[in-house]
């Protein structure tokens, strides 16, 4: 388990991170969300030891993280890039060995991984001669080559074509399934909602929401209901104690003072005519995000 506790960091006197705390659990995909400049990259660099925090600690398996532990982490930086004139195979072997994998294992693993990613016939071509999509695949392989104990990926989906997005999703899921904690940042909320287990939202230098995606959505659901009636729903505006957010012909969206008032609303509606649909509205991640990061 990776644990961040009270991480702060300033640049040129401007505080970018102010007491960031969250955990990344083994076997779970944790999405890290925040607007541009919120400090996602800075946080990840601190986890990897590329930047030092001004305050706070990063712990790995209960111990303050050290050089040796970090050697076992896999990282895909937001700014992509490998050696342009080196071939994918040599490149991966070099990186694996930098992470402490021995030569023979590094070669086997690099070959396997590249074949798995469909690059089996490009092993010894210069990286710069590969298509952009294939270079992205090698970049992914570079993060996975040493079978990392923790995977940190900064905007792994940005710039990917839809097919590679699916490949990437599978890779993240597979890694998490082996018990590895996976932390990835993204601003594509629909994607995050679809694939991640846990969510951390940062804004204004702090964590504004964290938890499982389901829990967060229910927690923030409020008492919003959707109705589809047999006739025009305009009369709902005259009902006391409810707030009508939207009416569109027979459809309406209303907010109750409390969830417990739902049966009352339903019976009022039934007294007025047929009710085809009556459901509680659970906000999408995007709505929560908009709400918390104001």
């Amino acid at each position: 388990m990776l644990e961040l506790d009270g991480i702060s960091r300033s640049f040129d006197g401007r505080r970018v991170l102010d007491g960031i705390s969250f955990t990344v659990e083994p076997g779970r995909l944790t999405g890290f969300v925040g607007s541009n400049g919120a400090g996602k990259t800075t946080t990840m660099r601190i986890v990897l030891g590329i930047l030092a925090p001004d305050a706070g600690t990063v712990s790995w398996k209960g111990q303050p993280v050290d050089r040796e532990a970090r050697r076992g982490f896999g990282y895909m930086p937001e700014e992509r890039g490998l050696y342009p004139k080196m071939n994918p195979l040599d490149q991966l072997i070099f990186l694996a060995r930098l992470h402490g994998v021995d030569a023979g294992a590094a070669r086997r693993k690099a070959t396997d991984l590249l074949e798995q990613l469909g690059l089996g016939d490009r092993l010894t071509d210069k990286l710069e001669s590969l298509s952009l999509g294939n270079q992205q695949r090698v970049q992914v392989a570079a993060a996975l080559i040493h079978e990392p104990a923790l995977l940190v990926l900064d905007e792994p989906f940005s710039g990917l074509d839809p097919i590679t997005v699916d490949t990437m999703t599978t890779i993240l899921r597979t890694s998490a399934a082996t018990g590895v904690p996976v932390l990835f940042s993204s601003h594509q909320l629909d994607l995050v909602e679809r694939i991640c287990d846990d969510l951390v939202i940062i804004s204004g230098g702090g964590v504004v929401a964290r938890g499982t995606v389901e829990a967060l959505r229910h927690e923030r659901a409020g008492a919003r209901f959707r109705l589809v009636l047999g006739e025009d729903a305009g009369w709902l505006r005259d009902v006391d104690g409810i707030q009508v957010l939207d009416v569109d012909g027979p459809k309406a969206l209303v907010e109750l003072p409390d969830v417990s008032h739902d049966q009352q609303l339903l019976s009022v509606a039934l007294n007025h005519g047929p009710v085809h649909e009556f459901s509680r509205v659970i906000p999408a991640l995007a709505d929560i995000y908009r709400e918390v990061s104001q």
Partner: protein, 429 residues
């Protein structure tokens, strides 16, 4: 830790060894070294003595030609004996220099070409089949004919031969016996003994010290730029962030320097070895032994001097964001090499200037080997000079490593030295 340095160094080396431009330039340098040893020999004839073709017409011309040929060959033998004696004298430390070759008879290999007539001999000279012709004129005197000039060695040989024949004729006429004549001719001139001899092999030593200085300068620039480029390549391609996440910045720097130092030293050692092989294969014993005795010192100065500068090259590379920035960020370093290079070439004679330069860390890798070659400095002076380089190197490494660490992750734009120096907690380890 050692393993990481080794790994990074190995990557630098294999990358370079696969670089066509590097292989070609190394090949060209090898050719230059071999060429500079072999070409002068080809011009002079392979034993180092000049060769002449002399056309002769008429019996007295032929006789004198024969004598000139004999005298020239004798001088060659004398010179060879002398060279061996010099070598031994050098080994024994005896300042005994007996230069038979300097008694005025040039050592030269003469080939006679018999011509039927003076006109035929002249034609041979004109068609460049002979270097000169020795002919009898209508009034019975002898004449040497050349195209645009007559080589002075050849001219001297002919004069000496003519005088010898004249003397012989006069003495024979006076009734002196053949045995006395033979004895007279084999009389050796007195040997010379210098009380304060200049350093032996002065010429070779000068050529070698220029070669050493040139090698140091060019290799330091070429491999220095390689280090800087390799640093920028990692920044520009952004792979640097993965590297820094996997390994401490200092190991990255150390690996880069070790890798390039091994390459540079290997290349220079290869050039020296080829030069040595070429010199001994072509029988230039003096040059070979001088190279053998001074090459080790040179390599020492080279290695320390190179490491002293390489860290600064890495820092200059890390201040740049793109290859195009290198021009400006490496400028101070290029200056720090060019100016010493010209200074080292301006002060080559023993004196205060050369002495000072042989201790200043940027010029000493060029000037101290020069002093050692002309035996103007002893081994302990060289050690002091090496110590100064090492101390300067240590200081430069600390300063440059800090700049390197402070600017490595600033991939966006060129970093100023001041900004890199601030370092405000860039990395944690």
């Amino acid at each position: 830790m050692i393993e990481t340095i080794r790994l990074i160094a190995a990557r630098e080396i294999t990358t370079k060894l696969r670089d066509r431009a590097f292989l070609i330039s190394t090949g060209v340098m090898l050719l230059i070294v071999v060429g500079s040893v072999v070409v002068p020999l080809l011009l002079n004839g392979d034993d180092g003595h000049p060769k002449f073709r002399l056309a002769v017409a008429g019996s007295s011309a032929t006789t004198i030609g024969e004598t000139a040929k004999t005298v020239g060959a004798a001088a060659i033998t004398a010179a060879d004996v002398q060279e061996k004696a010099d070598d031994q004298a050098g080994e024994d430390g005896l300042p005994l220099v007996t230069r038979a070759a300097e008694t005025g008879v040039p050592a030269a290999d003469l080939t006679l070409v018999n011509a039927d007539s003076a006109d035929a001999a002249t034609a041979l000279v004109r068609s460049e089949d002979a270097d000169a012709a020795l002919v009898e004129t209508a009034d019975g005197t002898l004449e040497v004919i050349g195209r645009d000039e007559v080589d002075s060695d050849l001219s001297t040989l002919i004069t000496v031969a003519a005088q010898a024949d004249e003397t012989r004729a006069v003495l024979t006429e006076a009734g002196v016996g053949d045995d006395v004549l033979t004895q007279l001719q084999s009389t050796r001139p007195p040997g010379e003994r210098l009380l304060e001899p200049g350093s032996p092999n002065e010429g070779v030593a000068t050529v070698l010290s220029f070669a050493f200085a040139g090698l140091f300068y060019f290799t330091a620039i070429v491999f220095g730029l390689t280090i800087a480029q390799s640093v920028v390549e990692e920044k520009q391609s952004r792979v640097i962030e993965i590297l820094v996440a996997a390994t401490p910045v200092r190991l990255l720097l150390a690996g880069k320097i070790v890798g390039n130092a091994v390459l540079a030293l290997g290349q220079v050692a290869l050039l020296l070895a080829i030069g040595l092989a070429a010199a001994s294969a072509t029988g230039q014993g003096a040059a070979a032994s001088l190279l053998l005795s001074s090459g080790g010192w040179f390599l020492l100065f080279f290695a320390l001097g190179f490491v002293m500068l390489s860290c600064a090259w890495a820092a200059a590379g890390s201040l740049a964001a793109r290859q195009e920035d290198l021009q400006s960020t490496t400028m101070p370093l290029q200056m720090a090499l060019i100016i010493p290079f010209f200074l080292a070439f301006s002060f080559t004679d023993p004196g205060t200037g050369l002495k000072v330069l042989s201790y200043v860390p940027f010029t000493s890798p060029m000037s101290m080997p020069r002093r050692l070659l002309i035996e103007d400095a002893s081994w302990w002076e060289a050690l002091i000079s090496l110590g100064i380089i090492a101390a300067t190197g240590a200081l430069l490494i600390v300063l440059a490593a800090r700049l390197y660490e402070g600017s490595l992750l600033r991939t966006g734009t060129k970093t100023s030295i001041a900004a890199a120096w601030k370092r405000e907690k860039q990395t944690s380890a």
